[in-house]
């Protein structure tokens, strides 16, 4: 369980994040939503300990986050970054093996190889295992990194008994994981992560697409200019009213009986009137 109690972050007198509280349990998919500059990444960095909160406390599995050793913490939570820079010509297999680094000292054990092979296969990149990471497309690179964080979180029993819950409470933090992916791979990635929550993985993800959040998230935290607009069940949070507050756009939730969930459609009021006026012939006089 991750509990953030009134955490805030200030740098050089600038409040990037006002006090925010958040609770994430195992098996939950939590989406952090908000406009650019709302403090989403700052919050995620606080939760992943890249930054230290200037105020408030974060508990990870009922222990203060800052008291976890970096290795033990790495065995229990993984972070999928938004951008990947790999300085040298590493192969895909080498990179995914890095996910196992918190689990062995110098050389990988047999089971580490097994887990990596499993994750390569599950993310559909087993055929790329000997390719250089730098020669892959953006979508393939993202899947490699997904395989890496999965390798970090799974253990040997988890790959042998796919339907058993994870042995320890574990968390995955994702920073805009669908950036640069086509819609097929966006869905693939999110549904894969969603599947893992059924085994007890806790997920906290920054998302941009409201519809993905609606389909995959259990709960939503809405941020606006460093402040929380609320934290609650997805459908309670993604109302036209709150979305208008967070993004300054008008949306409608359209229900389709054949789908089990509504679709969020943004629209611009008076768009048609304006655009018709713009196309009046006077412009060409």
């Amino acid at each position: 369980m991750i509990q953030a109690q009134n955490i805030a972050y200030t740098i050089r007198g600038k409040n990037l994040l006002q006090p925010i509280s958040l609770e994430a349990s195992c098996g939950e998919f939590i989406a952090i939503l908000g406009a650019n500059g709302a403090g989403k990444s700052t919050l995620l960095k606080l939760l992943s300990q890249e930054l230290k909160p200037t105020q408030g406390k974060i508990y990870f599995n009922n222990r203060l986050l800052s008291t976890w050793s970096s290795t033990t913490l790495a065995q229990h939570r993984a972070v999928l970054a938004q951008h990947h820079t790999v300085a040298f010509n590493f192969t895909v297999a080498d990179l995914v093996m890095m996910g196992r680094y918190p689990h062995f000292k110098h050389s990988p054990r047999l089971q580490d190889y097994d887990i990596v092979a499993y994750c390569l296969e599950k993310t559909g990149i087993a055929h790329l295992s000997q390719r250089s990471f730098l020669t892959l497309s953006g979508g393939e690179q993202q899947r490699v990194m997904l395989a890496k964080v999965m390798a970090q979180l799974l253990d040997h029993t988890a790959i042998l008994q796919e339907h058993k819950p994870l042995s320890h409470p574990k968390f995955l933090l994702l920073d805009e994981p669908t950036t640069g992916l086509d819609i097929f791979h966006q869905q693939n990635l999110l549904s894969f992560v969603r599947q893992q929550t059924q085994r007890g993985l806790g997920v906290i993800a920054i998302l941009h697409d409201l519809n993905w959040a609606l389909q995959y998230a259990d709960k939503v935290l809405l941020l606006q200019q460093g402040e929380s607009l609320g934290f609650g069940k997805t459908l309670d949070m993604l109302t036209p009213n709150l979305i208008k507050k967070a993004f300054q756009i008008d949306v409608q939730l359209v229900s389709q009986p054949s789908l089990g969930f509504p679709i969020i459609v943004p629209y611009q009021s008076n768009f048609f009137n304006q655009s018709i006026k713009q196309w009046q012939p006077q412009h060409f006089h």
Binding site: S70, M98, H106, A126, S129, Q130
Partner: protein, 364 residues
């Protein structure tokens, strides 16, 4: 369940056929170590008095008490007093430069980094040149052997001091920042170069010759006496750096990502900087600055064995050893009975190889 397990295992052995298997690591390192041994034995035999491989083996075997054999006493003296310490020093220095270069490229996450970037070599040069130039002006009657030690000690102090300055200037909120380290290193290099130039300008002709000899590098000064001191100081960084493979691999993803994988990056940076400074500082102190090995060897190694630092680090050490032994062999035989400076050989041979590598990369 049982079947599932075997299928996973079969796959993993296919996936890791090359880069990760321990057998491959052992094979590569074993081959390099074998090459180093052969090159070393061969190099000891070559020189003004040629000694055949058979004689080399029988002399060494006898000295180590392994075998009873006959050999000429003159050959034995040349071998053990002159050539052996020189070849051993060359191997050690090559190993240190190779592995320090690979580690520096690792923490700077830049294949163009080398140990000189932290100001190790330029700081050492500055202090060495200062000690050569100012020595006579202070006019102490130095015992020549003492003056050699003084030069080495000064060079080592210079190396440590400049790294220390670069490391501490690069700290932001108590954590060293790699990009700042790079810029500070470049700035300090320029400053040290300028002061060295100023001192050279004020030097006499005799001083200039020793400055020039020193700045181009040579392992010719090797004796058992200074090897005794240098051996542990050079071996420690090689061993210490060669086990940092896992951490440096994670570092390739960036510092934050490495932290998320449980690597303490501050400790890692400190370790690499301290060990590299120790190794390169001692080698510059004893042999002057030998260029290109630290840049070239890790590159060549990566071309052959891939990017995984678990293999790149020890392989760079062995590769550096082999290349430096060969370069020193050329340095002392090409224009025999005199010698060419080692730095000239490494740069002359290294530059074309380096440019060739760059072109290879461009067309890939």
């Amino acid at each position: 369940m049982v079947q599932q397990r075997t299928s996973v295992q079969l796959e993993s052995s296919a996936v890791f056929s090359k880069t990760f298997s321990n057998a491959y690591t052992v094979l590569v390192l074993g081959t390099l170590a074998g090459m180093l041994l052969v090159v070393g034995l061969w190099a000891i035999g070559i020189g003004a008095v040629p000694i055949s491989l058979k004689d080399v083996v029988s002399i060494l075997g006898n000295k180590l008490g392994l075998i009873e054999s006959h050999y000429s006493e003159q050959q034995a003296v040349i071998l053990t007093v002159i050539r052996l310490p020189r070849v051993i020093l060359g191997m050690l220095v090559g190993a240190v430069l190779g592995i320090a270069g690979a580690s520096m490229q690792g923490i700077f996450r830049n294949p163009l980094a080398d140990p000189g970037l932290m100001g190790i070599s330029s700081g050492a040069s500055l202090f060495a040149v200062a000690s050569i130039v100012l020595e006579l002006q202070f006019a102490f009657p130095f015992d020549p052997s003492y003056s050699l030690y003084r030069l080495s000690a000064m060079a080592f102090v210079g190396a440590c001091l400049s790294t220390f300055i670069v490391y501490h200037l690069s700290k932001i909120d108590g954590k060293p920042q790699i990009s700042t380290m790079l810029l500070t290193g470049i700035a300090l290099n320029a400053l040290a170069g300028a002061i060295t130039g100023l001192l050279t300008y004020a030097a006499t002709d005799a001083q200039l010759r020793s400055i020039q000899f020193w700045s181009l590098g040579s392992v010719g000064g090797a004796t058992w006496q200074n090897l005794q001191l240098a051996f542990p100081l050079l071996l420690l960084p090689v061993v210490g750096l060669s086990v940092q493979g896992k951490a440096l691999n994670a570092f390739v993803l960036g510092e934050d990502q490495a932290e998320h994988l449980g690597i303490n990056t501050t400790v890692l940076k400190k370790r690499i900087v301290v060990l590299s400074t120790l190794g390169v500082g001692v080698s510059v102190a004893l042999c002057g600055s030998i260029g290109f090995i630290g840049l070239l060897i890790p590159h060549l190694t990566r071309l052959v064995v891939g990017a995984n630092h678990r293999l790149v680090l020890p392989a760079s050490a062995l590769g550096g050893s082999i290349i430096l032994t060969l370069a020193d062999l050329l340095a002392r035989t090409l224009v025999a009975p005199t010698e060419l400076p080692l730095g000239i050989i490494t740069a002359l041979l290294g530059t074309p190889v380096f440019i060739w590598m760059l072109l290879q990369n461009r067309t890939r």
